[in-house]
């Protein structure tokens, strides 16, 4: 399920493991938690190997996907469970349970049973239960997956604020790229059991290492290209019959590459206007108004279709069927190895 993953998560950071379902992110989380053992390799927690330490002795707690609250115990008893296992004194447990419930804004609900709470409230109980023993690391397995969109957004910012306040390292598993980008200090993108890229959200978004990352995080247009030269700043590549300038590391002349272009980094200009560099001829095939802007499809001369997102004021050139030029700035392109 998980192969050749080498990953260092920093103390106090909000780290997300992002990938489609079945990519191995949950397996990786379960390895960290101690529910699975690696066939080879090491897991270090604060510098010492924990692969032989059972789950119950690891200084990290997990928030399960569907919360896994004990249905026969009240909210307070659920939250107290970890402390009771550590044989903490009764009055201290009471005090810390009250604190933990306050932390997740569930004051006064301690006597309720889990089934009497809404999904969002159950989520908070799971959070309080996992945080009460003050673990070094909190593992979260798609904790917001069962909530509706509005509640999700609320919980996202709440979780992020909580993490900042506590300074606990969060390892957050999700398949929602928007969620990962919005919450994380760093993101690890997984696919097929492998960790493809690790980086800050803007690095992942602007400089994806391969076609999978470029397509999974946000949306990308892909253009096949061949390197024809370079100058001191840019590579010159040939694609769709045009010579284009893109910014990136030097690559041997003649190499085939793939260019990844974000829809919102593309601009549309009237045909015949030839001031800018990087002009691609095309025909405006479709344009839809989305409120936040326009979403257009442009068919290039070689038949490939590019998607562009335009700000709402850019409606001047948008007559469907007309000939247009697509353009983009050299730094706005990610250059990918062609085989990936």
């Amino acid at each position: 399920m998980v192969r050749d993953v080498s990953l260092a998560i920093r103390e106090g950071e909000f780290f997300s493991l992002l990938g489609p379902s079945g990519c191995g992110k949950t397996t990786l989380l379960r390895l960290l938690a101690g529910f699975e053992s690696p066939t080879s390799g090491e897991i270090l927690l604060a510098g010492s190997g924990v692969q032989d330490v059972p789950a119950r002795r690891r200084d990290l707690n997990i928030v399960f996907q569907h919360y896994a609250l004990f249905p026969h115990l009240s909210v307070a008893r659920n939250v107290a469970f970890g402390l009771e296992m550590q044989k903490v004194a009764g009055d201290e447990i009471q005090r810390r349970v009250a604190d933990a419930l306050a932390l997740v804004r569930l004051q006064g609900l301690g006597a309720r049973m889990p089934r009497e709470l809404s999904g969002g409230q159950q989520q908070r109980v799971a959070l309080a239960r996992a945080l009460i023993t003050r673990p070094a690391v909190l593992l979260l397995d798609e904790p917001l997956g069962a909530l509706d969109l509005k509640l999700r957004r609320e919980m996202q910012s709440e979780l992020k604020a909580l993490q900042r306040r506590l300074g606990t390292t969060f390892v957050y598993v999700t398949h929602d790229q928007e969620e990962a980008l919005a919450m994380s200090d760093r993101v690890g993108v997984m696919h097929d059991g492998q960790l493809l890229q690790v980086g800050a959200p803007h690095e992942i978004y602007d400089r994806p290492v391969n076609r999978f990352v470029a397509a999974f995080i946000g949306e990308s247009n892909f253009l096949a290209a061949e390197v024809t030269g370079y100058d001191d700043r840019d590579l010159i590549v040939r694609s769709a019959g045009e010579s284009l300038r893109v910014r990136g590391e030097r690559i041997a002349i003649g190499r085939r590459v793939t260019l990844a272009l974000r829809p919102e980094r593309l601009r549309i200009m009237p045909a015949g206007d030839s001031v800018a560099v990087n002009l691609l001829d095309g025909r405006l095939r479709e344009c839809v108004y989305l409120g936040t802007g326009w979403r257009c499809e442009i068919e290039l001369v070689d038949g490939s279709v590019m998607r562009a997102s335009l700000p709402p004021q850019d409606s001047g050139v948008l007559s469907v069927g007309s000939r247009v030029m697509l353009t983009f700035a050299p730094p706005d392109v990610a250059i990918l190895e062609s085989d990936s």
């Binding site: 938690a33 101690g34 529910f35 059972p54 789950a55 119950r56 002795r57 707690n61 997990i62 399960f64 569907h66 896994a68 609250l69 004990f70 249905p71 026969h72 469970f81 970890g82 296992m85 550590q86 049973m113 089934r115 239960r129 996992a130 023993t133």
Partner: protein, 285 residues
């Protein structure tokens, strides 16, 4: 649906008439007859005048001994079934689904085999110089003495546990299978050791299955008469044997047998009340 008013309800009542009649005629009727007989004066087999002396005679130390033995053997068999059945049910419930069905079928096989054949099989195995004895001697246990387990309470418990284990495993399996096993992981994650996981999470959440299983085995074991009759001998008489004897063997004493049967029924009702309390408390969970 609501437009049809009480129609579905009426039809449901109609459907209930045959089984209700069946139960009344064939269950409640005989029960009333037995209750009535239990109140009659002793005779051979019965004197049709009400005196209630049969209950008084049940207080005789000999019969109280039978009662005590029945209760203790039934309780021990129930506890042993639980101790053996729980790990078994847990193991089966955690196999992949297709193995579960096969394993579960294997547990049920003894139920589908002729019970006399099974009991005679046990007799052959348990008797002195039987298979069991030879095995123990071969392993160096027993000190050369022939095995004397047959016709003892121990043999009765062995037989009861063997016979009624499926009654324990089935409800346990049903409630363990429904369990969300991530709850056990959650407990471990929060620092619970094996015993704490068992006592704090696993047992409370499978309590309905435990209560049902215990009730089924206890009810069956308390009323057993074939097993104690064949494996236990005279010293291991249980309530079921007492009832059977007073009705069928000379000297017959129907009121005595009926009174013993009513006592057994009362004990079973207490057991059922307890089980529904324990099982019902957690139903919402």
């Amino acid at each position: 649906m609501s437009g049809h008013g009480s129609k579905p309800g009426t039809r449901a009542v109609g459907v209930l008439v045959p089984p209700a009649a069946w139960l009344t005629l064939l269950f409640l009727g005989p029960l009333c007859v037995v209750a009535l007989i239990s109140l009659m004066a002793p005779g051979a087999p019965v004197e049709w005048t009400i005196d209630g002396s049969a209950y008084q005679r049940l207080l005789d130390p000999i019969y109280l001994g039978v009662l005590w033995r029945s209760l203790s053997l039934a309780v021990m068999a129930t506890v042993l079934c639980l101790v053996l059945g729980y790990p078994l049910a847990y193991y089966i419930a955690r196999r992949p689904p297709r193995f579960r069905r096969v394993l579960f079928f294997l547990v049920l096989v003894p139920l589908w085999t002729n019970s006399l054949v099974l009991i005679y099989g046990w007799m052959v195995m348990l008797r002195p110089n039987g298979a069991f004895d030879q095995l123990l001697q071969g392993l160096g246990f027993g000190g050369g003495e022939p095995l004397t387990i047959l016709y003892t309470p121990a043999a009765v418990i062995l037989g009861l546990v063997y016979w009624y284990l499926p009654f324990m495993v089935y409800p346990l399996y049903a409630s363990i299978e429904k369990l969300d096993f991530r709850l056990l992981e959650a407990a471990r994650d929060l620092g619970a050791g094996g015993l704490a996981v068992l006592v704090r999470v696993l047992l409370p959440l499978t309590l309905p299955g435990i209560a049902t299983g215990c009730l089924l085995v206890f009810v069956e074991a308390l009323g057993a008469f074939v097993v104690p009759d064949l494996l236990g001998g005279a010293k291991s008489m249980m309530l079921g044997n007492l009832v059977q004897q007073r009705f069928l063997s000379v000297p017959q004493d129907w009121p005595m047998g009926a009174a013993a049967a009513m006592l057994m029924l009362a004990l079973l009702l207490v057991g059922m009340l307890w089980a529904s309390r324990v099982g019902g408390l957690r139903r919402g969970a």
